[in-house]
């Protein structure tokens, strides 16, 4: 049913630390690796070894440059996947009931055997979190690794989304954002976690931690600097004359 639940028991989601992400794309690859062989249809590639390769991914890492009014520009790597919105427009627009939000944990999923591949849900998502798989003709999106997080066949430490497990920098955190005492909620409170495009009214569950402010250099603190003053002086005498003469030519 594409009516959204009025509330969900838990709000499982990700917290992504923009201060820590190094832009290595490991989460992109591990996501594709896990999800192409587990929940639902595989994530197909078109023309993977040809001149114009493209394919379905559930997680992608952008990189942005922010130029503050004063100081140096900063490079920020920006992983983006489904934010499992509380007010998910992708669910309500779906004509078939294939898209739904789970009451028990708030995860937004697609029932692929009901999906007609009309694409309207992808049109309604502001974040580009849904991609229609060209080989399968159905909509693909992040499942929050619903087939890992409750999977008792996996060792305990693996029962988190694949991207979280993989991130070498520890920039991705997983937990219940509906529980104010959870680690992820505390992290969001501490670091002023933010919503993307709040004006869209989607109420994303996933939060982004903004980069910490960079240190600013107020005055000359390098005690060696005076010793490193340039030693090259203007040439005098014969060399000076040679220099001037040669410059004329």
């Amino acid at each position: 049913m594409t009516e959204l639940p009025t509330s969900t028991d838990r709000k499982m989601g990700l917290v992504i630390d923009l201060d820590t992400c190094v832009g290595c794309h490991a989460c992109v690859i591990s996501c594709k690796g896990w999800n192409t062989e587990n929940y639902g249809a595989p994530l197909s590639d078109q023309n993977p070894y040809g001149a114009d390769p493209s394919g379905t991914f559930l997680n992608r890492v952008h990189s942005y440059e922010v130029q503050p009014e004063k100081g140096h520009a900063q490079l920020i790597h920006f992983p983006k996947s489904c934010l499992h919105c509380e007010d998910a427009p992708c669910v309500t627009v779906c004509p078939t009931g294939a898209s739904y939000k789970r009451v028990e944990d708030g995860i937004v999923l697609v029932n692929e055997s009901n999906c007609i591949g009309c694409g309207l849900c992808a049109w309604s998502c502001p974040y580009g979190a849904r991609e229609l798989d060209l080989a399968e003709g159905v909509m693909k999106k992040c499942t929050l690794c619903v087939d890992r997080i409750y999977n008792e066949n996996l060792p305990e430490e693996d029962r988190v989304p694949s991207c979280v497990r993989t991130c070498p920098a520890g920039a991705r955190h997983f937990g219940d954002l509906g529980d104010p005492s959870s680690d992820v909620s505390k992290l969001v409170a501490e670091r002023s976690g933010m919503d993307l495009m709040p004006e869209m009214g989607t109420k994303p569950v996933n939060k982004y931690l903004p980069p910490r402010p960079k240190d600013t250099v107020e005055e000359e603190i390098d005690i060696l600097a005076p010793l490193l003053a340039p030693v090259a002086e203007e040439p005098k005498g014969f060399l000076g004359w040679l220099d001037k003469t040669l410059e004329k030519f």
């Binding site: 594409t2 390769p53 952008h62 004509p95 007609i116 591949g117 991609e131 229609l132 495009m197 869209m200």
Partner: protein, 295 residues
């Protein structure tokens, strides 16, 4: 947005078809027998042909029946339900008119309402999308409805009704372009809000997440055709509204000439609306383009 031919054909033809059904249902004109047959064949051909074209872009057309189930929340589902209801009711009304020489006017009025309702629900599929500010305006349903009504009146041969309706549709079109051009800026969404980094400085897309193309870029970021937009607007406006208005106002005596000119007016209008619909898609900016530093 990618201007997919299937969607352009669908909205153009079915809009015109349901517009014609609206007037036929109201008894404008009252037709029976062979004349009625021709009118209804045209109307159903346009409406059903358009609906059929719309299934071409589905990944799984064989499951299309499922799209009737979520009318409580989904405008796409409501459109499906409304279209089938309109076609069934107008089908019955047409049987009465063609084979029994009857004019079941209550049924016709119901069919008219449902036909216009179908055009409205179609327009709401686009209007509801906050992600595409150019569509997320009250002028979008106004445009779809005024086009369907003007085209319907034209096809139904109701010259005195078609004249004011064409003028109204022309004005709605101009207003849509004017406000549409500012819609993205007015929405307040930009790369700053998209990344949440806007209050730290100017944000610039530095490196894209992938070197090749993908579904998102193909579907939502269509910049190629936009450079001809101004020329196409002139063509759309001239063919869609100006030329039909002039043709209808020409003082012809012979019925033969009148019919030819009315036929020409319909064709010009159809071509104009198709051009306008192409622009409707090609010029629409989806906010996901911002993440790629595009629009």
């Amino acid at each position: 947005m990618h201007p997919a031919p299937s969607v352009i054909i669908f909205t153009t033809l079915s809009g015109l078809g349901f517009g014609l059904l609206f007037f036929l249902g109201l008894g404008l004109p009252v037709v029976t027998g062979m004349v009625a047959f021709v009118f209804y064949a045209i109307a159903f051909g346009l409406a059903v042909g358009g609906l059929a074209a719309s299934t071409f872009h589905l990944g799984h057309p064989e499951r299309a029946w499922r799209a009737f189930t979520q009318w409580k929340t989904s405008w796409l589902s409501r459109e499906g339900v409304c279209a089938v209801a309109a076609l069934l009711v107008m089908g019955l009304y047409a049987i009465g008119a063609v084979f029994l020489g009857q004019n079941w006017s209550a049924l016709g009025v119901l069919g008219s309402v449902l036909s216009l309702g179908t055009v409205f629900t179609t327009s709401m599929i686009y209007t509801q999308l906050k992600t595409i500010p150019r569509w997320n305006m009250k002028l979008t349903p106004a445009m779809f409805l005024s086009f369907a009504l003007a085209g319907g009146a034209l096809l139904a041969g109701q010259v005195s009704i078609a004249l004011p309706l064409l003028a109204v549709a022309a004005l709605v079109q101009l207003a849509y372009w004017k406000y549409g051009d500012d819609a993205l800026a007015a929405s307040g969404t930009n790369l700053g809000t998209a990344t949440g980094l806007g209050d730290r400085g100017a944000v610039r897309a530095f490196e894209p997440p992938h070197t090749g193309s993908n579904y998102l870029l193909r579907e939502f970021v269509h910049v190629v055709g936009r450079k001809h937009a101004q020329k196409l607007r002139v063509i759309a406006f001239g063919l869609g509204f100006a030329l039909p208005l002039v043709l209808l106002l020409l003082p012809f005596e012979s019925t033969m000439l009148k019919h030819t000119v009315a036929g020409l007016a319909v064709l010009a209008h159809l071509a104009g609306v198709a051009a306008s619909r192409w622009l409707f898609f090609a010029q629409a900016e989806h906010v996901v383009g911002l993440y790629y530093g595009k629009r």
